[in-house]
């Protein structure tokens, strides 16, 4: 166990989500934009259409400044945020897939060095040589996608890894291919918005300006339709039953689906307008489309994270970082029984365990121990203290705050809170609370103080 970092103003899990959504937008853009640019550059070379180079130059500069470097930065950002928010979760991934990530690192290097070379050598080397650089960017970017999807999908469906502990079994898991092809399709939709933005910045009246907007939009529309079909007929049916249950539960707020569906519908309509009347495209509209896509991606990534609940790695590690399975070939052992028998306190190296019974029952110390246990068991998914709260008008934004949830369920006394803690495993998205009876009592004591702290805010803003 590690110290708990709750977050400041914003809950730690939301830092992860914000950085992840931005990373997905930028990194998916690099993959599909590399293929779209390759398509245009091939036409420039083989059909002698040098006018496409102006678009390619602008697009490459934008990709260099925004997508490649910011994508890589946000990728590192995901590591930093997940490390601070859920260290044992990221540790499991690292200790399984460090060399796969090492392989992906070469692809990152190819991407970032490649886009620098691509941009600075445009017009300075033979067009056919430059076309090779476009091929390298397209293949390298797809390589990063092929690797990271194995690690992402592992978290939801570790597959045979749970029995064998072999990295390859975890990497090529049941949702690997549907997620890979769904992402490969949808990334063309992101690229369409990007291409429209770049092309709309070009001089009006150029015949190829509208040509590029229309071609990119057709590609984006095809990607959206194929991606939706893959979701419906391949990805969703492959999801574990438990994940589908969680998706249908209140663990995923309605606003999340509204963001995803609303984003998809708006994007579909925008792309259709682009195909019919590409002349109407404006930079502000394209920027708006990118914003809509960001919100939809944010919703989709949040859903992907939440549908694994109550685990961070389905079937192996709970969201609050406890190992819940035996993997003998890797030396991992289920920690649940031991924690219930011996207590959680002894497993928290950052807490000095009480030496005597008198010390344990010292009220102030008891309360503090309760706080430590609540932080360890609840803070991964819930706002515990008020340091992760932001006041927006009359609304207080927190992430599923524990005190609010207890008030809503009428658990206000120490006894009722303790009873609630004992029954908490009944929700599909919650594991039973771990620890001895004394520890649960200490948790209840601390939680009661949170519940009593004051009247509930005017509105409970859910995220």
């Amino acid at each position: 166990m590690y110290p708990t970092w709750e977050g400041v103003f914003v809950h730690s899990a939301m830092y992860v989500a914000i950085v992840a959504a931005f990373h997905v937008l930028a990194s998916h853009l690099t993959v599909a934009a590399a293929w779209f640019n390759l398509y245009l550059e091939r036409r420039a070379v083989y059909e002698n259409r040098p006018e496409f180079y102006e678009y390619l130059k602008r697009s490459a500069l934008g990709l260099l400044v925004f997508a490649y470097v910011f994508g890589a930065l946000a990728g590192v950002g995901i590591w930093q945020t997940t490390t601070a928010a859920n260290p044992r979760g990221i540790s499991t991934l690292i200790h399984n897939f460090v060399l796969y990530w090492g392989a992906e690192w070469y692809m990152f290097l190819i991407d970032v060095v490649g886009i620098i070379v691509y941009y600075y050598t445009l017009g300075r080397v033979n067009p056919r040589t430059h076309l090779k650089l476009a091929w390298i960017l397209a293949l390298g970017a797809t390589g990063t996608m092929a690797i990271i999807v194995g690690i992402l999908s592992f978290k939801l469906t570790p597959g045979a890894w749970l029995q064998t502990g072999a990295s390859l079994d975890g990497f090529y898991n049941p949702t690997y291919y549907p997620m890979l092809f769904m992402r490969l399709s949808l990334m063309f939709t992101i690229t369409a918005a990007w291409a429209c933005l770049i092309a709309s910045l070009m001089p009006k009246g150029s015949p190829w300006r509208e040509h590029i907007i229309r071609r990119a939009s057709i590609l984006g529309l095809a990607g959206l339709i194929v991606g939706a079909l893959i979701w419906q007929f391949w990805y969703y049916p492959t999801l574990p039953e438990h994940a589908r249950q969680v998706m249908a539960s209140r663990a995923v707020p309605a606003i999340t689906y509204q963001a995803i569906l609303g984003g998809a519908v708006l994007t579909l309509l925008g792309l259709l307008v682009n195909i019919i009347a590409p002349r109407m495209q404006r930079p502000i509209i394209a920027l708006g489309a990118m914003g809509v896509l960001f919100l939809a991606i944010f919703g989709a990534e949040r859903t992907r994270e939440v549908m694994r609940k109550p685990d961070i790695i389905a079937g192996y590690m709970s969201s609050n970082q406890l190992v819940i399975a035996d993997i003998p070939s890797r030396g991992a052992r289920n920690e649940e029984a031991r924690l219930n028998q011996e207590g959680v306190l002894g497993q928290l190296p950052f807490v000095k365990p009480p030496k005597t019974a008198q010390e344990l029952y010292d009220t102030q110390r008891y309360w503090k121990i309760g706080k430590q246990l609540v932080l360890q068991q609840c803070a991964s998914c819930h706002s515990v203290s008020r340091q992760t709260a932001i006041q927006v008008g009359r609304h207080e934004l927190r992430l599923r705050p524990v005190d609010e949830l207890l008030r809503m369920r009428g658990a206000k006394t120490r006894e009722s809170i303790e009873a609630y803690l004992n029954a908490i495993g009944g929700f599909p998205y919650m594991h039973p609370v771990k620890g001895t009876a004394e520890e649960r009592a200490a948790m209840a004591m601390y939680l009661q103080s949170l519940v009593e702290e004051g009247e509930p805010p005017a509105a409970l803003a859910r995220r």
């Binding site: 690292i94 090492g102 690797i147 990295s167 991992a332 932080l375």
Partner: protein, 394 residues
């Protein structure tokens, strides 16, 4: 207390173990750190020079400042990408240290990437729109400040790892946990001065000599300008050598002494400073760029080893040794990494060759062949990677 810390580190270690021998991971950690620190310090050096030259420089220095302003954001990008590898390896073999440091300093650890993004954006803005007339000089100053802050955050994370004996006190004094992660718990100013400030002057100096070496080969080379650039690079390196020694000695006798490493560190830093001083003194400013890079990378490797020795010695006090880290040979992982290394090196070599030859307008024929081969390898690698999992459906 020692037993308590030993037990704490053992309990925090990931139960899954490493996928290959931990000593190999340690070697990869040090080797990849060299590339990372070179680009990071280059970014800082280039950005600082651009600002200085725009404010105080003469004509040729302002001309060079434009190059430095272009170099800075690209070096930030490369610094981040090359930083991914040591980031991976450190958390594989030093997971208790890395994760404890990051959670104890969670706010800054999370803010780190936003700080780098800001530094990068400001550096790019300055390159695209800045001018010697004073336009957007604030952006340059802000970018330097943000890059320095990012370096400081990483420095604090690295230093927090070294003191497991204080972690409990930092996290929960009197059992009251501080879950904000806003406090900079451990730092060492001579170490920052050595690794960030003085090293940035050296990385800049070496790169200026490489610049002179490369552009002297062009038909339209401006020899007077290139000689000035090469001389400046050499002078910066020579001036940095004693500064490197002074800050190195200070680092040895403030932090090194805590782990009984001060004598070894002082000797090593003296050797490195002498190597740079003597090595650079005999280099020709116009033609010595490649050898200058060699000297500096070799020195950075030595510095990386010292840095790693401090960490290993610190945790050895509590019985934590990298060589003892549990591991299971995961041959699939090893094969994936080895295969990708071959493909990656071939492709990157081709990219660098194209960039190198682009100044002459034509890429050498054998490089073109390498390009075809490397694209084929990359395509085959991708196809193999995607198809390998089809066995799931068989």
């Amino acid at each position: 207390m020692e037993m308590l810390n030993t037990e704490m580190l053992r309990m925090m270690r990931d139960p899954l173990g490493a996928p290959l021998h931990p000593t190999l991971i340690q070697v990869l950690l040090v080797a990849t750190f060299v590339l990372h620190i070179f680009f990071v310090t280059l970014a800082l050096g280039a950005a600082s020079f651009a600002l200085w030259a725009f404010l105080r420089g003469n004509e040729w220095q302002r001309r060079l400042a434009r190059v430095a302003a272009r170099l800075a954001p690209n070096a930030v990008g490369l610094g981040v990408v090359t930083g991914i590898a040591p980031l991976l390896f450190v958390q594989t073999i030093y997971d208790p240290l890395w994760y404890a440091a990051n959670t104890l300093t969670g706010f800054w650890s999370t803010l780190f990437i936003f700080v780098v993004m800001g530094g990068y954006s400001m550096a790019y803005l300055f390159y695209l729109k800045g001018s010697p007339q004073g336009r957007l000089l604030w952006a340059s100053g802000l970018s330097i400040a943000l890059i320095l802050l990012a370096g400081w955050i990483m420095h604090v994370l690295a230093n927090t790892q070294l003191y497991p004996e204080y972690w409990r006190e930092w996290y929960a004094p009197n059992l009251e946990p501080d879950t904000r992660g806003v406090v900079f718990h451990a730092y060492n100013l001579p170490r920052v001065a050595f690794l960030l400030l003085v090293s940035s002057v050296l990385s800049l100096g070496v790169t200026l000599m490489l610049f002179a070496w490369y552009f002297r080969q062009r038909d339209d080379a401006d020899y007077e300008y290139l000689t000035q650039v090469g001389n400046l690079g050499k002078r910066l390196a020579l001036v940095s050598a004693p500064l490197l020694w002074i800050t190195g000695i200070a680092w040895s006798f403030t932090q090194g002494i805590q782990f009984g490493l001060h004598i070894v560190m002082a000797l090593a830093f003296t050797f490195i400073a002498l190597l740079i001083r003597e090595g650079f003194r005999h280099l020709d400013p116009l033609t010595g760029g490649v050898r200058a890079l060699g000297f500096w990378l070799l020195s950075l490797l030595g510095i990386g080893v010292i840095r790693e020795t401090i960490r290993a010695t610190s945790v050895a006090r509590y019985g934590y040794r990298v060589a003892d880290y549990p591991f299971v040979w995961d041959w699939a992982s090893v094969l994936v990494f080895a295969l990708t290394t071959v493909v990656g090196v071939a492709v990157i070599a081709y990219l660098v060759l194209v960039l190198y030859d682009s100044g002459k307008g034509e890429v050498r024929p054998w490089a073109e062949k390498l390009g075809r081969v490397s694209i084929g390898m990359l395509g085959a690698w991708l196809a193999l990677f995607i198809l390998l999992g089809v066995r799931l459906y068989l």
